[in-house]
Symmetry: C2
Subunit: 197 residues, 2 copies
Protein backbone atom coordinates (compact mmCIF):
# COMPACT_ATOMS: atom_id res chain seq x y z
CA UNK A 1 0.00 0.00 0.00
CA UNK A 2 3.02 2.34 0.22
CA UNK A 3 4.30 3.91 -2.99
CA UNK A 4 6.95 1.94 -4.95
CA UNK A 5 9.93 4.08 -3.81
CA UNK A 6 8.90 3.72 -0.16
CA UNK A 7 8.39 -0.06 -0.54
CA UNK A 8 11.82 -0.26 -2.14
CA UNK A 9 13.38 1.63 0.79
CA UNK A 10 11.58 -0.58 3.34
CA UNK A 11 12.86 -3.75 1.71
CA UNK A 12 16.40 -2.33 1.33
CA UNK A 13 16.48 -1.50 5.06
CA UNK A 14 15.76 -5.17 5.87
CA UNK A 15 19.33 -6.14 4.97
CA UNK A 16 20.43 -4.48 8.23
CA UNK A 17 20.95 -7.10 10.96
CA UNK A 18 18.10 -7.21 13.47
CA UNK A 19 15.71 -5.16 11.31
CA UNK A 20 12.39 -6.88 10.55
CA UNK A 21 9.46 -5.65 8.45
CA UNK A 22 7.94 -3.50 11.21
CA UNK A 23 11.16 -1.71 12.16
CA UNK A 24 12.08 -1.22 8.49
CA UNK A 25 8.70 0.46 7.94
CA UNK A 26 9.17 2.67 10.99
CA UNK A 27 12.70 3.62 9.89
CA UNK A 28 11.63 4.47 6.33
CA UNK A 29 8.66 6.60 7.42
CA UNK A 30 10.61 8.39 10.14
CA UNK A 31 13.42 9.25 7.72
CA UNK A 32 11.00 10.52 5.08
CA UNK A 33 8.84 12.44 7.53
CA UNK A 34 11.55 14.03 9.63
CA UNK A 35 15.11 13.60 8.45
CA UNK A 36 15.73 13.73 4.70
CA UNK A 37 19.15 15.29 5.26
CA UNK A 38 20.06 12.37 7.50
CA UNK A 39 18.81 9.91 4.89
CA UNK A 40 20.99 11.50 2.21
CA UNK A 41 23.98 11.57 4.59
CA UNK A 42 23.44 7.87 5.35
CA UNK A 43 23.21 7.09 1.62
CA UNK A 44 26.52 8.88 1.03
CA UNK A 45 28.25 7.17 3.95
CA UNK A 46 27.06 3.73 2.76
CA UNK A 47 28.26 4.38 -0.77
CA UNK A 48 31.66 5.69 0.27
CA UNK A 49 32.28 2.89 2.76
CA UNK A 50 31.07 0.14 0.41
CA UNK A 51 33.32 1.41 -2.37
CA UNK A 52 36.49 2.34 -0.52
CA UNK A 53 36.78 0.17 2.59
CA UNK A 54 39.01 -2.86 2.00
CA UNK A 55 40.94 -5.30 4.16
CA UNK A 56 44.26 -4.23 5.64
CA UNK A 57 46.89 -6.10 3.59
CA UNK A 58 48.68 -7.16 6.79
CA UNK A 59 46.02 -8.00 9.39
CA UNK A 60 42.71 -8.04 7.41
CA UNK A 61 41.11 -5.36 9.60
CA UNK A 62 38.73 -3.19 7.59
CA UNK A 63 40.28 0.10 6.45
CA UNK A 64 40.34 2.42 3.43
CA UNK A 65 44.15 2.60 3.47
CA UNK A 66 46.53 -0.21 2.41
CA UNK A 67 47.61 -0.60 6.07
CA UNK A 68 45.25 -0.05 9.01
CA UNK A 69 46.03 2.35 11.88
CA UNK A 70 47.01 -0.48 14.21
CA UNK A 71 49.46 -1.98 11.72
CA UNK A 72 50.95 1.45 11.00
CA UNK A 73 51.70 2.12 14.66
CA UNK A 74 55.39 1.71 15.48
CA UNK A 75 55.05 1.41 19.27
CA UNK A 76 53.41 -2.04 19.30
CA UNK A 77 55.11 -5.28 20.32
CA UNK A 78 55.96 -7.13 17.09
CA UNK A 79 56.67 -10.40 18.92
CA UNK A 80 52.99 -11.01 19.82
CA UNK A 81 50.18 -11.74 17.35
CA UNK A 82 46.58 -11.97 18.52
CA UNK A 83 44.11 -13.76 16.23
CA UNK A 84 40.46 -12.63 16.46
CA UNK A 85 37.30 -13.51 14.54
CA UNK A 86 35.98 -10.04 13.75
CA UNK A 87 36.95 -6.33 13.79
CA UNK A 88 34.46 -5.89 16.66
CA UNK A 89 36.44 -8.48 18.66
CA UNK A 90 39.66 -6.53 17.97
CA UNK A 91 37.88 -3.38 19.13
CA UNK A 92 36.88 -5.12 22.39
CA UNK A 93 40.44 -6.39 22.94
CA UNK A 94 41.85 -2.88 22.35
CA UNK A 95 39.29 -1.37 24.73
CA UNK A 96 40.51 -3.66 27.52
CA UNK A 97 43.86 -1.84 27.30
CA UNK A 98 45.82 -4.96 28.23
CA UNK A 99 47.36 -5.88 24.91
CA UNK A 100 50.11 -4.12 23.02
CA UNK A 101 50.94 -6.61 20.28
CA UNK A 102 49.76 -7.02 16.68
CA UNK A 103 46.53 -8.50 15.37
CA UNK A 104 45.27 -10.83 12.67
CA UNK A 105 41.55 -10.87 11.84
CA UNK A 106 39.96 -14.01 10.43
CA UNK A 107 36.70 -12.27 9.38
CA UNK A 108 34.85 -15.46 10.25
CA UNK A 109 35.42 -18.93 11.67
CA UNK A 110 35.81 -22.39 10.18
CA UNK A 111 32.37 -23.58 9.13
CA UNK A 112 32.43 -26.19 6.36
CA UNK A 113 28.62 -26.16 6.19
CA UNK A 114 28.72 -22.49 5.11
CA UNK A 115 31.67 -23.09 2.76
CA UNK A 116 34.11 -21.24 5.03
CA UNK A 117 37.47 -22.98 5.02
CA UNK A 118 41.08 -21.95 5.73
CA UNK A 119 41.40 -19.89 2.54
CA UNK A 120 38.36 -17.73 3.39
CA UNK A 121 39.95 -17.00 6.79
CA UNK A 122 43.23 -15.86 5.21
CA UNK A 123 45.30 -18.62 6.78
CA UNK A 124 47.81 -18.35 3.88
CA UNK A 125 48.39 -14.68 4.70
CA UNK A 126 48.76 -15.64 8.37
CA UNK A 127 51.40 -18.29 7.60
CA UNK A 128 53.24 -15.78 5.39
CA UNK A 129 53.30 -13.29 8.29
CA UNK A 130 54.59 -15.92 10.70
CA UNK A 131 57.41 -16.62 8.21
CA UNK A 132 58.25 -12.93 7.58
CA UNK A 133 57.80 -11.30 11.00
CA UNK A 134 59.64 -11.86 14.32
CA UNK A 135 56.53 -13.34 15.98
CA UNK A 136 57.24 -15.38 19.13
CA UNK A 137 53.72 -15.92 20.49
CA UNK A 138 50.37 -16.42 18.77
CA UNK A 139 47.40 -15.66 21.06
CA UNK A 140 44.19 -17.20 19.75
CA UNK A 141 41.16 -15.14 20.80
CA UNK A 142 38.40 -16.82 18.78
CA UNK A 143 35.09 -17.16 20.62
CA UNK A 144 34.18 -20.09 22.87
CA UNK A 145 31.73 -21.64 20.40
CA UNK A 146 32.04 -24.94 18.59
CA UNK A 147 33.30 -23.23 15.41
CA UNK A 148 35.54 -20.87 17.39
CA UNK A 149 37.14 -23.81 19.22
CA UNK A 150 37.58 -25.76 15.98
CA UNK A 151 39.21 -22.72 14.39
CA UNK A 152 41.54 -22.30 17.38
CA UNK A 153 42.51 -25.97 17.23
CA UNK A 154 43.14 -25.81 13.48
CA UNK A 155 45.35 -22.73 13.76
CA UNK A 156 47.27 -24.20 16.72
CA UNK A 157 47.99 -27.33 14.68
CA UNK A 158 49.31 -25.23 11.80
CA UNK A 159 51.41 -22.84 13.92
CA UNK A 160 53.02 -25.20 16.47
CA UNK A 161 55.32 -26.96 13.92
CA UNK A 162 56.94 -23.54 13.25
CA UNK A 163 58.27 -23.52 16.83
CA UNK A 164 56.11 -20.54 17.78
CA UNK A 165 54.37 -20.52 21.16
CA UNK A 166 50.57 -20.78 20.80
CA UNK A 167 48.25 -19.63 23.61
CA UNK A 168 44.48 -19.34 24.00
CA UNK A 169 42.72 -16.60 25.99
CA UNK A 170 41.27 -17.91 29.28
CA UNK A 171 37.60 -18.83 29.57
CA UNK A 172 35.87 -18.84 32.94
CA UNK A 173 33.49 -16.93 35.20
CA UNK A 174 33.40 -13.28 34.00
CA UNK A 175 34.49 -10.54 36.37
CA UNK A 176 31.52 -9.54 38.53
CA UNK A 177 29.77 -12.80 37.61
CA UNK A 178 28.12 -14.97 40.26
CA UNK A 179 28.41 -18.75 40.16
CA UNK A 180 24.69 -19.11 40.85
CA UNK A 181 23.86 -17.44 37.52
CA UNK A 182 26.71 -18.85 35.43
CA UNK A 183 26.00 -21.62 32.91
CA UNK A 184 27.43 -25.09 33.37
CA UNK A 185 29.81 -24.92 30.40
CA UNK A 186 31.46 -21.79 31.75
CA UNK A 187 31.81 -23.28 35.24
CA UNK A 188 33.32 -26.43 33.73
CA UNK A 189 35.91 -24.26 31.93
CA UNK A 190 36.58 -22.25 35.09
CA UNK A 191 37.24 -25.47 37.06
CA UNK A 192 39.44 -27.06 34.38
CA UNK A 193 41.51 -23.89 33.99
CA UNK A 194 41.93 -23.28 37.75
CA UNK A 195 45.25 -21.87 38.92
CA UNK A 196 47.13 -21.91 42.22
CA UNK A 197 46.85 -18.67 44.19
CA UNK B 1 39.70 2.98 16.39
CA UNK B 2 37.85 2.19 13.16
CA UNK B 3 38.96 3.96 9.99
CA UNK B 4 37.32 7.36 9.22
CA UNK B 5 34.92 6.02 6.55
CA UNK B 6 33.71 3.26 8.91
CA UNK B 7 33.29 5.73 11.79
CA UNK B 8 31.32 8.00 9.44
CA UNK B 9 29.05 5.09 8.44
CA UNK B 10 28.52 4.09 12.10
CA UNK B 11 27.50 7.61 13.07
CA UNK B 12 25.24 7.99 10.00
CA UNK B 13 23.43 4.74 10.90
CA UNK B 14 22.57 6.22 14.33
CA UNK B 15 19.91 8.47 12.76
CA UNK B 16 17.76 5.35 12.33
CA UNK B 17 15.17 5.07 15.11
CA UNK B 18 16.10 2.51 17.75
CA UNK B 19 19.72 2.18 16.61
CA UNK B 20 22.31 2.91 19.33
CA UNK B 21 26.11 2.88 19.10
CA UNK B 22 26.46 -0.91 19.48
CA UNK B 23 23.85 -1.82 16.83
CA UNK B 24 25.22 0.83 14.46
CA UNK B 25 28.67 -0.74 14.79
CA UNK B 26 27.28 -4.21 14.19
CA UNK B 27 25.30 -3.03 11.15
CA UNK B 28 28.28 -1.22 9.60
CA UNK B 29 30.66 -4.16 10.07
CA UNK B 30 28.16 -6.73 8.83
CA UNK B 31 27.42 -4.69 5.69
CA UNK B 32 31.11 -4.21 4.95
CA UNK B 33 32.07 -7.80 5.72
CA UNK B 34 29.21 -9.56 3.99
CA UNK B 35 26.86 -7.45 1.92
CA UNK B 36 28.39 -4.60 -0.09
CA UNK B 37 25.80 -5.02 -2.82
CA UNK B 38 23.07 -4.63 -0.22
CA UNK B 39 24.79 -1.53 1.18
CA UNK B 40 24.90 0.06 -2.28
CA UNK B 41 21.26 -0.89 -2.92
CA UNK B 42 20.26 0.66 0.41
CA UNK B 43 22.22 3.84 -0.45
CA UNK B 44 20.38 4.08 -3.77
CA UNK B 45 16.97 3.47 -2.20
CA UNK B 46 17.61 6.13 0.45
CA UNK B 47 18.70 8.68 -2.13
CA UNK B 48 15.78 8.03 -4.48
CA UNK B 49 13.18 8.08 -1.71
CA UNK B 50 14.63 11.20 -0.02
CA UNK B 51 14.66 13.07 -3.31
CA UNK B 52 11.39 12.00 -4.91
CA UNK B 53 8.90 11.12 -2.15
CA UNK B 54 6.62 14.05 -1.34
CA UNK B 55 3.25 14.46 0.35
CA UNK B 56 0.09 13.63 -1.58
CA UNK B 57 -1.46 17.01 -2.45
CA UNK B 58 -4.86 15.81 -1.27
CA UNK B 59 -4.34 13.67 1.86
CA UNK B 60 -0.64 14.25 2.79
CA UNK B 61 0.21 10.53 2.57
CA UNK B 62 3.80 10.02 1.38
CA UNK B 63 4.06 9.28 -2.33
CA UNK B 64 6.25 10.10 -5.32
CA UNK B 65 3.21 10.99 -7.47
CA UNK B 66 1.08 14.16 -7.10
CA UNK B 67 -1.83 12.00 -5.84
CA UNK B 68 -1.34 8.83 -3.77
CA UNK B 69 -2.83 5.45 -4.75
CA UNK B 70 -5.63 5.74 -2.20
CA UNK B 71 -6.68 9.19 -3.44
CA UNK B 72 -6.55 8.02 -7.06
CA UNK B 73 -8.92 5.11 -6.40
CA UNK B 74 -12.41 5.78 -7.70
CA UNK B 75 -14.23 3.08 -5.70
CA UNK B 76 -13.89 4.73 -2.28
CA UNK B 77 -16.66 6.44 -0.34
CA UNK B 78 -16.16 10.21 -0.79
CA UNK B 79 -18.57 11.07 2.03
CA UNK B 80 -16.28 9.78 4.78
CA UNK B 81 -12.90 11.26 5.77
CA UNK B 82 -10.70 9.54 8.33
CA UNK B 83 -7.98 11.65 9.99
CA UNK B 84 -4.88 9.77 11.18
CA UNK B 85 -1.57 10.85 12.68
CA UNK B 86 0.87 8.93 10.47
CA UNK B 87 1.08 6.89 7.26
CA UNK B 88 1.68 3.82 9.46
CA UNK B 89 -1.69 4.47 11.16
CA UNK B 90 -3.38 4.68 7.73
CA UNK B 91 -1.70 1.38 6.85
CA UNK B 92 -3.10 -0.22 10.03
CA UNK B 93 -6.60 1.13 9.31
CA UNK B 94 -6.45 -0.20 5.74
CA UNK B 95 -5.24 -3.60 6.97
CA UNK B 96 -8.33 -3.91 9.17
CA UNK B 97 -10.42 -3.96 5.98
CA UNK B 98 -13.33 -2.16 7.63
CA UNK B 99 -13.07 1.29 6.10
CA UNK B 100 -13.78 2.35 2.56
CA UNK B 101 -13.67 6.16 2.81
CA UNK B 102 -10.93 8.73 2.22
CA UNK B 103 -8.02 9.71 4.47
CA UNK B 104 -6.24 12.79 5.72
CA UNK B 105 -2.82 12.39 7.35
CA UNK B 106 -1.65 14.94 9.92
CA UNK B 107 1.97 13.73 9.90
CA UNK B 108 2.15 14.54 13.60
CA UNK B 109 -0.01 15.79 16.47
CA UNK B 110 -0.47 19.14 18.17
CA UNK B 111 2.53 19.69 20.42
CA UNK B 112 3.25 23.38 21.17
CA UNK B 113 6.41 22.43 23.07
CA UNK B 114 7.88 20.98 19.85
CA UNK B 115 6.57 23.90 17.77
CA UNK B 116 3.94 21.75 16.07
CA UNK B 117 0.75 23.77 15.58
CA UNK B 118 -2.24 23.58 13.20
CA UNK B 119 -0.25 24.78 10.18
CA UNK B 120 2.35 21.96 10.56
CA UNK B 121 -0.54 19.46 10.59
CA UNK B 122 -2.02 20.82 7.36
CA UNK B 123 -5.28 21.94 8.98
CA UNK B 124 -5.69 24.60 6.25
CA UNK B 125 -5.59 21.90 3.58
CA UNK B 126 -8.08 19.87 5.64
CA UNK B 127 -10.51 22.81 5.87
CA UNK B 128 -10.13 23.40 2.13
CA UNK B 129 -11.04 19.76 1.45
CA UNK B 130 -14.06 19.96 3.73
CA UNK B 131 -15.21 22.99 1.73
CA UNK B 132 -14.55 21.44 -1.70
CA UNK B 133 -15.54 17.78 -1.24
CA UNK B 134 -18.91 16.18 -0.39
CA UNK B 135 -17.73 15.00 3.04
CA UNK B 136 -20.50 14.13 5.50
CA UNK B 137 -18.55 12.49 8.32
CA UNK B 138 -15.10 13.15 9.72
CA UNK B 139 -13.70 10.18 11.69
CA UNK B 140 -10.86 11.20 13.99
CA UNK B 141 -8.42 8.31 14.49
CA UNK B 142 -5.59 10.07 16.34
CA UNK B 143 -4.00 8.02 19.12
CA UNK B 144 -5.25 7.92 22.69
CA UNK B 145 -2.40 10.01 24.09
CA UNK B 146 -2.57 13.47 25.59
CA UNK B 147 -1.45 15.10 22.34
CA UNK B 148 -3.66 12.81 20.25
CA UNK B 149 -6.71 13.70 22.34
CA UNK B 150 -5.90 17.43 22.19
CA UNK B 151 -5.52 17.17 18.41
CA UNK B 152 -8.86 15.35 18.13
CA UNK B 153 -10.56 18.00 20.26
CA UNK B 154 -9.05 20.86 18.24
CA UNK B 155 -10.12 19.34 14.91
CA UNK B 156 -13.64 18.62 16.22
CA UNK B 157 -14.01 22.25 17.30
CA UNK B 158 -12.95 23.44 13.83
CA UNK B 159 -15.12 20.98 11.88
CA UNK B 160 -18.40 21.01 13.84
CA UNK B 161 -19.36 24.61 12.85
CA UNK B 162 -19.39 23.43 9.20
CA UNK B 163 -22.33 21.15 10.00
CA UNK B 164 -20.30 18.01 9.32
CA UNK B 165 -20.67 15.01 11.65
CA UNK B 166 -17.49 14.40 13.69
CA UNK B 167 -16.82 10.98 15.25
CA UNK B 168 -13.92 9.47 17.21
CA UNK B 169 -12.81 5.83 16.93
CA UNK B 170 -13.74 3.81 20.03
CA UNK B 171 -11.20 3.13 22.77
CA UNK B 172 -11.58 0.17 25.09
CA UNK B 173 -10.31 -3.32 25.89
CA UNK B 174 -8.61 -4.70 22.74
CA UNK B 175 -10.00 -7.83 21.13
CA UNK B 176 -8.48 -10.87 22.86
CA UNK B 177 -7.45 -8.68 25.81
CA UNK B 178 -8.09 -9.74 29.39
CA UNK B 179 -9.31 -7.27 32.00
CA UNK B 180 -6.76 -8.58 34.49
CA UNK B 181 -3.90 -7.37 32.31
CA UNK B 182 -5.49 -4.17 30.97
CA UNK B 183 -4.37 -0.81 32.33
CA UNK B 184 -6.72 1.37 34.34
CA UNK B 185 -7.01 4.12 31.72
CA UNK B 186 -8.19 1.65 29.10
CA UNK B 187 -10.72 0.06 31.49
CA UNK B 188 -12.04 3.54 32.39
CA UNK B 189 -12.56 4.24 28.67
CA UNK B 190 -14.22 0.85 28.16
CA UNK B 191 -16.66 1.56 31.02
CA UNK B 192 -17.49 5.11 29.92
CA UNK B 193 -18.09 4.00 26.31
CA UNK B 194 -20.23 0.96 27.27
CA UNK B 195 -23.14 0.10 24.98
CA UNK B 196 -26.38 -1.80 25.47
CA UNK B 197 -26.33 -5.35 24.07
Amino acid sequence: MYSPLIEQLISALRILPGVGPKSAQRMALQLLERDRQGALALAGALEQAAEHVRQCTRCRLLTEKPLCDLCEKTDRDDSKLCIAETPADVFALEQSGNYNGRYFVLLGKLSPIDGIGPSELGIDLLMQRLADEPIEEVIIATNLTMEGEATAFYIAERVKPLGIQVTRIAHGVPSGGELEYTDGGTIAHALLSRREI
